[in-house]
């Protein structure tokens, strides 16, 4: 028997939180399928399949009950986030390896739900980009720029049977971030490069609409109080500030802030990845520091680092700093006077 309170709020559970996150991902996923072809459904299904397989395996090995933990929806969120971060139409085992790192290494080796220091989806992504960089840069081109977009059957064929019949050149293209990075390093001028069709209206053809849909989903999460304003605001604010600073310093090498908002994983990161409560800072001031620094690091990696996008690594680096940030940003308790408390 437990003590008071004897009532709990209705309709709140880990499962309902996770399902709301998934629901908020739907607009972005639809936009993804609309602009880049139906391949995303294949990668979503594959990631989901491997997620549940590894989750069940890990739970069985750890002698944990399957029903509550398979039903909490957390592994489904991890699967969807990783699927939306990976190129579609890659071989099936790429998704398997990604989910293996996400679920087995990042989540269950740390103690399962609620215990992971790092964002599982980003650990999966990082493991893949350092192990298989070639596959990780082969993104399908936007449908209106590609000479050929595989339909669902072709997509299944590509994923499971390999890239035999169709040449990847027919349906893939360098992403805007990759294009800019490669061409600027080859001596090109950023403004001129960004006139190419792949950069679209707002910075990235197709991707910009997907990003706007992620923004819409994120605003829904904010509205339903699944996430707070601190992390997205601080992250997007820091991305804009850092990008503006670099752009003002050297417009020939650095893209404008709008491009940084629309390209790559910025919006997904701001509303869905950095906001993962388990691996994020949990104090109000801590969230601002955590997400703000992540925003800076994202743009710095894009501008100077070895990888075209910096979202995953900025998230992982800041995950590492969370225990320290939280310990030193404890808010003042009601009625306590003087400075905010400093933790040992």
């Amino acid at each position: 028997m437990t003590g008071s309170p004897h009532i709990i709020a209705q309709h709140t559970s880990v499962r309902s939180v996770m399902l709301k996150v998934l629901a908020a991902l739907i607009p972005g996923t639809l936009a993804h399928a609309w602009y880049f072809g139906p391949g995303v459904w294949v990668s979503l299904l594959l990631c989901t399949f491997f997620a549940y397989t590894f989750e069940a395996l890990a739970l069985a090995m750890r002698n944990q009950p399957l029903k509550p933990f398979l039903g909490d929806g957390s592994v489904l969120v991890t699967a969807w986030l990783l699927a939306l971060s990976l190129p579609t139409l890659a071989p099936w085992w790429l998704y398997a390896v990604g989910m293996l790192f996400a679920v087995l290494v990042a989540k269950h080796l740390y103690g399962g739900l609620g215990q992971n220091l790092f964002n599982p989806a980003m650990v999966g992504y990082a493991a893949l980009i350092v192990s298989f960089p070639a596959y990780m840069t082969q993104w399908p081109a936007p449908m209106d720029l590609a000479s050929h977009t595989p339909d669902l059957l072709e997509a299944l064929d590509l994923v499971f049977a390999g890239q035999g019949a169709v040449s990847p050149d027919a349906y893939t293209a360098a992403t805007p971030l990759d294009t800019l990075r490669t061409q600027v390093r080859a001596g090109g001028d950023a403004a001129a490069i960004m006139l190419e069709p792949v950069f679209g209206h707002l910075g990235a053809r197709g991707q910009e609409m997907v990003a706007l849909m992620y923004l819409l989903g994120g605003l829904l999460l904010l509205n339903y109080r699944v996430i707070g304003w601190h992390i997205p605001t601080a992250y997007l604010g820091a991305v804009v500030l850092t990008a503006t600073g670099l752009h003002l310093l050297d417009a020939g090498r650095h893209a404008d802030p709008l491009f940084h908002l629309m390209a790559g994983g910025t919006m997904l990161g701001a509303f869905f990845i950095l906001t993962d409560p388990v691996s994020a800072s949990a104090t109000p001031r801590g969230k601002l520091i955590y997400a703000g620094l992540a925003g800076c690091i994202t743009v710095v990696i894009r501008a100077f680092g070895g990888y075209p996008d910096g979202v995953a690594f900025s998230v992982l680096l800041m995950n590492m700093a969370v225990p320290f940030i939280d310990a030193h940003t404890q808010p003042k308790v009601f009625g306590q006077v003087g400075r905010d408390r400093d933790r040992p």
């Binding site: 309170p5 709020a9 709140t12 939180v17 215990q115 409560p277 104090t283 808010p331």
Partner: protein, 563 residues
């Protein structure tokens, strides 16, 4: 949502302040406000607990078989933090023994059992001349009359009514917020007996020397607000509607809402010049002062899964089973009783336990409104608890450290600022019984404190014992030495003590011998020897003398031949 402290517009334009956190559980208030307060019919037997207040329990002053009258003192206050306990009706004391009482522990406590005689005769009740009475005498009278806070904490009122020598209490707040769901006893009291409550508040104000009286009532009680405002019309008592948010009726929360004054952590509202009393306490003060009646009854909400949920004026000591019966009895499907509200109340273990001053509500549970709690999931650090916490704590951190028994850390995360209001457990999506973890941590820390104090005491005692033994030894040695030297020096001691004289003679002889030895004369065992031996020795001595006179002066026994 409720963040920061933006002021909201209150009644009469009073600026209100928004305390952190809070939740909005369903009120279920209308369930029990449909019927007016009714007095419980007289019962054949009352069980009056001697511990009905915070502090020391009262001491029984009646014997088994003794006849008592309503309002007669049956338990005298014992110690400072204590108040009197009185007979709820006239009758005969049949037992003074441990009985089940409404307490979370389910333990039994000492009660006076009274069989009513049905006549309900009272002691002589004389109103108090509070205006002219010496404040201290008035407080003592209220202490004896058993007045304690009826909001649930049952702290002795006379202590709270003592402003102290230096302290200024400019603001008196009457707490009619009643933020717990289901409970309506204050609501009904304010609707029906508003002017009496204000008369009580008037006495409180007089005793505290307060300049301002504020009545805080949550805006989900428009009838109570209207009745109190009507009763206060023409006076400077300000009746203020405050936003309905649990736990807005907490003393520190209501103080902040109404005045913007933040009670310091570990402090009292009086530290910021505010004293808070429940409206029910003000009403009981009115009865004590204007009618001369000690605290023998209170209004109790009986609600939930009962036949006719309502508020009853219940004599203290009425068995709860009788009180439930008076409200229509438990309906089929009842799953137990909660004493107090659903957020902070506790499970009743035995319905034969009596109503005490602390019981404001008997809530009968059923499966519909009190479904079994789902199994807890791991904490995902979502921070809902921190947003709901009215003390602005980080409950997930406290949970983490309490779970891992790192009690030092729980204290550095301000565990003792937790008021156990239950908001964190209420909102937790992982359904973790967070408050249970904090109670556990607090009791462990208290237990360790006690152990440490006991160990410190034992260590101090041990150290003192060692010190004492050593001191005694030293003193004894000093005394002996002193005595000995006194005996040596003064002959007077020796003359009147033949034993000492003999010892002294022996000592003197020994000293003399030693002196001779030092002078080189070696005493020998030469007395009583046979003649031949004596001659032999004499011969040897003579040879030795001869040798000594001829030899070089290098004898080790006489390094200086001149001496």
């Amino acid at each position: 949502m409720r963040t920061g402290n933006p002021p909201a517009a209150g009644a009469r334009g009073r600026r209100l302040y928004d305390f952190p956190g809070g939740v909005h559980p369903e009120g279920h208030k209308a369930v029990s406000t449909g019927r007016p307060i009714a007095a419980m019919p007289l019962l054949p037997r009352y069980v009056v607990a001697l511990r009905q207040h915070i502090g020391e329990p009262a001491r029984a002053v009646v014997q088994i078989g003794e006849r008592v009258l309503r309002g007669q003192l049956i338990g005298r206050p014992e110690g400072y933090v204590s108040v009197g306990v009185h007979a709820p009706t006239s009758g005969r004391v049949v037992a003074v023994e441990p009985r089940p009482v409404p307490h979370p522990s389910g333990l039994m406590d000492l009660c006076v059992v009274i069989d009513a005689d049905g006549e309900d005769r009272a002691v002589d009740l004389a109103p108090l001349d509070w205006h002219r009475m010496d404040p201290s005498a008035l407080r003592n009278r209220l202490r004896e009359m058993g007045l304690a806070g009826l909001g649930g904490a049952v702290f002795p009122s006379f202590i709270k009514l003592n402003p102290g020598a230096k302290r200024q209490i400019p603001i008196l707040i009457l707490n009619g917020a009643e933020c717990e769901p289901w409970i309506t006893c204050d609501d009904m009291l304010m609707r029906e007996r508003a002017s009496e409550i204000l008369l009580g508040a008037h006495v409180m104000r007089h005793m505290l020397g307060a300049e301002q009286v504020l009545v805080g009532i949550e805006d989900n009680k428009p009838e109570a607000l209207a009745c109190m405002a009507e009763a206060a019309a023409g006076s400077d008592v300000e009746v203020v509607g405050v936003p309905t948010v649990y736990p807005g009726g907490g003393g520190k929360q209501l103080t902040y809402t109404l005045t913007g004054r933040k009670t310091p952590s570990k402090g009292l509202t009086t530290d910021v010049g505010v004293q808070v009393f429940n409206v029910g306490t003000a009403y009981s003060l009115y009865r004590a002062v204007y009618l001369g009646e000690p605290l023998v009854s209170r209004v109790v909400t009986v609600t939930g899964h009962v036949g006719s949920p309502r508020n009853l004026e219940v004599r203290l000591g009425s068995p709860i089973s009788d009180v439930i019966r008076a409200a229509g009895g438990e309906l089929p499907g009842a799953t137990g009783e909660v004493i107090g509200g659903p957020m902070m109340g506790f499970d009743l273990h035995d319905t034969s336990a009596p109503i005490t001053k602390a019981v404001n509500c008997v809530l009968v549970r059923n499966a519909e409104h009190f479904p079994p709690k789902p199994a807890p999931m791991p904490c995902i650090r979502c921070g809902e608890c921190a947003r709901a916490c009215p003390a602005a704590l980080q409950p997930y951190e406290l949970y983490w450290y309490a779970r891992h028994r790192d009690f030092g850390k729980t204290q550095s995360y301000s565990l003792f600022d937790c008021i156990e209001c239950g908001c964190c457990s209420y909102v937790c999506p992982s359904h973790i019984p967070l408050v249970d973890y904090y109670r556990f941590a607090k009791s462990e820390i208290w237990a360790r404190e006690r152990e440490k104090q006991a160990a410190d005491l034992a260590r101090e005692r041990h150290e003192f014992r060692i010190f004492r033994l050593e001191r005694e030894k030293r003193e004894k040695a000093e005394k002996l030495a002193k005595k000995a030297s006194e005996r040596m020096d003064s002959g007077a001691v020796a003359t009147d003590d033949p034993e000492a004289a003999r010892k002294k003679a022996l000592l003197a002889a020994a000293i003399e011998k030693a002196k001779q030895a030092k002078a080189g004369i070696r005493p020998k065992n030469v007395d009583d020897l046979p003649a031949d031996k004596q001659r032999e020795i004499a011969a040897i001595e003579a040879r030795r003398q001869q040798l000594a006179s001829t030899a070089e002066p290098s004898d080790t026994r006489s390094p200086t031949p001149d001496s």
